[in-house]
């Protein structure tokens, strides 16, 4: 008798526990941090930060740049994030325009390169590192097809590469957006769109993430992947038969940056993360993944990326890119997204 009753109570207690586990937070302050950083970078950053600040625990919400941006904008009435870290500066500018960011000068801000922070004082966001576009070119597949390695963006419209190129969709991928933004800035709007029309003829697929084109090139699924230098370097390190190419006209780039969300209820912890993000320790970690970081003198060279990335970056008008982001994406989607038949 009582055993069955106990069973019932057990069920009821279980149901209650089930309902409340979610609500019960852990003891240490838990920061919800929205990020577009790569999953393989997050671990190291988190471990270092939590070691320095044992009373704060990071909970990442990770997705690609476009999605994190859209999510933050959709939630603007009731923001869920405490901090945004490792999101494109152009996206942070958009958030700032919506009044979502808290002005805060992290400790050690004076050392940060002036080009790598919000010019406002105190800044709404501070840059962490620069990431830029790069091509992944599969030499094995190219050999089989007798394809020459491209050296420039212009080369990519060569009909020989038809169906051999993948590129990230700029609406969802920050890497995709910085390429499109760079082409429009370098070539001017009219020629920029004409270039993309021509490139579109060769593109086999537009991917959701900025990493996938390089991964696919690495696996020989397609010969050329338009991606970014960190992923290119890593893919080659993983053993893919690729060559990393920096197109000679110049590289599109964006900054990964950090900003505090105005509505956070965990301001102290959020400030700690912002302070840590501009520290030398953090910058050394960024430098393991990126050639150019916020603090001067910590620049590194990526093992498998030839050439001087910093010298090849285009002059990037972030304000223009942020202000025109929505218009550019709408135009891009209208031109290339609606392609309904599969392309071989």
């Amino acid at each position: 008798m009582s055993s069955t009753r106990r069973r019932f109570t057990g069920l009821a207690v279980g149901a209650l526990a089930l309902a409340t586990t979610a609500a019960a937070a852990r003891a240490a302050t838990e920061l919800t941090v929205y990020t577009a950083l790569e999953a393989d970078q997050l671990k190291a950053y988190q471990a270092a930060f939590e070691k320095a600040n044992p009373d704060v625990k990071i909970r990442w919400v990770r997705d690609s740049t476009g999605i994190v941006t859209a999510k933050l904008l959709a939630e603007k009435a009731n923001p869920q994030a405490d901090v945004v870290m490792g999101l494109a500066a152009t996206s942070l500018m958009l958030l700032d325009k919506e009044g979502l960011l808290l002005p805060y000068a992290p400790k050690g801000l004076e050392k940060v390169k002036p080009t790598m922070r919000d010019p406002a004082d105190p800044p709404k966001w501070v840059g962490m590192d620069v990431w830029s576009s790069a091509l992944c070119f599969n030499t094995v597949e190219a050999g089989k097809r007798g394809l020459e390695a491209p050296t420039s963006w212009a080369d990519l419209t060569d009909p020989a590469y038809k169906g051999q190129i993948t590129m990230p969709n700029p609406a969802s991928s920050g890497t995709g957006f910085l390429m499109v933004s760079a082409w429009l800035q370098m070539m001017g709007e009219e020629k920029g769109w004409a270039y993309m029309d021509a490139l579109h003829q060769n593109v086999a697929a537009y991917t959701h993430s900025g990493s996938k084109p390089c991964r696919q090139a690495g696996a020989g699924e397609y010969t050329i992947g338009l991606s970014f230098e960190y992923r290119a370097n890593k893919t080659k390190k993983d053993g893919a038969p690729i060559e990393v190419i920096l197109p000679k006209e110049g590289l599109g780039w964006d900054m990964e940056a950090i900003g505090i969300v105005k509505t956070t209820k965990k301001l102290e912890a959020a400030k700690k993360l912002a302070d840590w993000a501009v520290s030398e320790e953090a910058n050394r970690l960024y430098a393991q993944n990126f050639a150019i970081v916020a603090l001067p003198g910590i620049a590194s060279r990526l093992e498998h990326v030839p050439g001087d990335i910093e010298a090849m970056l285009i002059e990037n008008d972030f304000a223009w890119a942020a202000a025109n982001r929505e218009r550019i994406l709408a135009e891009w989607s209208k031109r290339y997204d609606g392609k309904s038949e599969p392309r071989s």
């Binding site: 008798m1 069955t4 019932f8 069920l11 279980g14 149901a15 089930l18 309902a19 586990t21 979610a22 609500a23 919800t32 790569e38 999953a39 393989d40 671990k43 909970r59 990442w60 919400v61 990770r62 690609s64 476009g66 999605i67 859209a70 999510k71 904008l73 959709a74 009731n78 094995v140 609406a171 969802s172 086999a204 697929a205 537009y206 991917t207 959701h208 993430s209 990493s211 996938k212 084109p213 390089c214 991964r215 696919q216 696996a219 020989g220 699924e221 397609y222 993983d238 053993g239 893919a240 038969p241 989607s333 997204d337 609606g338 392609k339 309904s340 038949e341 599969p342 392309r343 071989s344």
Partner: protein, 576 residues
Amino acid sequence: MATASGPLATPLPVPAAAPRPVRQALSRDDLVMRAGLGLLVLWLALSVVLPLWALLEKAFSGPAGEFVGLANFAAYLATPALSTSLGNSLLIAAASTVICVGLAFGYAWALTRTCLPAKALFKAIAAIPILAPSLLPAIALVYLFGNQGFARWALFGHSIYGPIGIVIGEVFWTFPHALIIVTTALATADARLYEAAVALKASRSRIFWTVTLPGARYGLISATFVVFTLVITDFGVPKVIGGSFNVLAVDVYKQVVGQQNFQMGAVVGLVLLIPALFSFLVDRLVQRRQAALLSARAVPLVPAPDRLVDRLALFFCSIVAFAILVVLGTAIFASLATFWPYDLRPSLKNYDFDNMDGGGWESYRNSLEMAALTALFGTAIIFGGAWLVEKTRRFEGVRGLVQLLALLPLAIPGLVMGLGYIFFFVEPSNPFHFLYGSMAILVICTIAHFYSVAHLTAVTALKQLDPEFESVSASLKVPLWRTFFKVTVPVCLPAILGIALYLFVNAMTTVSAVVFLYSPHTQLASIAVLNMDDAGDIAPAAAMAVMIFLTSAVVRGLYGLVTRGLLARTQAWRRR
């Protein structure tokens, strides 16, 4: 029971010396059961009806929540990329359905009407796809027929990315669903019809067209609609291998997750609901007729050996089984290769989930937890609910309502359900808002998503129990719950375990409903497969899909062992 003679009006408790001593008055047990039914209605309203309502509301409102009538639908029709998807979806679903039901019919026919050797083995192989998420066949197809695929020649230069890939993946994934239905339909044949046909000197093909096929037609219709609905609402396969071939299910995902355009997502979700609802209604109608097909005097058909037919059956089933094993084997092989396709030495590198997108091994542990909780609570709620519906005396209105609500989820695609859940729970004014982002919401949603089939299983099992048990217990003054635990549960144990298994496996493999609901704390393995594929980490995605398959397979194996042991112990009464 007393129901038949009793008036519809609820009688008040009658004193002991009432004029009708045989007929029980509304006892405490009755009240408890009615209260239980009331709670069940509340639960179903909360977990099924209100989220659906929230979705409807969203489809007719603007970004600020104002009512905009059909404006969203007009915008939908004006977006060419979105409306093309409708045609694409219908095309894919039609093609997949024809192929899948055709194959399933052949396979089921061989299993039921021939002396095919190793039937148990063929049955086991055919069940494989049900144990894996729909993403697994899609990923395997990339390895088989992608630009580096080892069977690429078989496509004659066509690309696997697009309709071809989607159709193959969907056929693989829906095959067991169709097979179960068609096998059941073919299993119940009346041998006398065949004897008569043979006596009338009908030819083989004539017998097939005039006896076999008509006998299975309801099963075929049912399978057709089930597969059609599964395909049109599945999003795993087209997401992975669809290339730029847009379908409705992926549109919902893109609108909601990619662009956070919830109104448009709701509109596409409603469009998805139409074929699903339609096929649900047809299926209901068909099943009502199927029941009357087999008369009590029917003689079960026992297939006679026939060398030629049996060999053909063996040949056909071997091809299908081989195809299933190749797809599964490819996924396993690819997950174990060091760097496909350039370094095929085996390694476990791809199982190092912690350095990939998707939440790492934690997502796998979360999936286990979610599946276990779903199986535990789901079985308790669904079986308990079915018992209340079956055993509560009178109270027809509410019982009918529960029946209806319990079947409703069958008509709701997972994506639509998940979407309704965010709309409903994300509102800060909702008292249940605290569930948003929790493990509980995943469990609740998954139970609701798979409620109907489990409910039907429970009802079938309970219907086999003579209502005399309750009457006798009541007259012996044995408390209700005691009868429940001492008689009902032990007798129905096979069905209860079956429900638990069904819920567990589906919770492990589901993507569609939970893709909108997971939070950083509650990443799931099936979602990790999706996210890793998205990031281009396709080999690790294959590895995680294999982990899901293995887990489901092990649990299913355990279920087999446990039920065998239990059946021997608790079902001895079935034998004389």
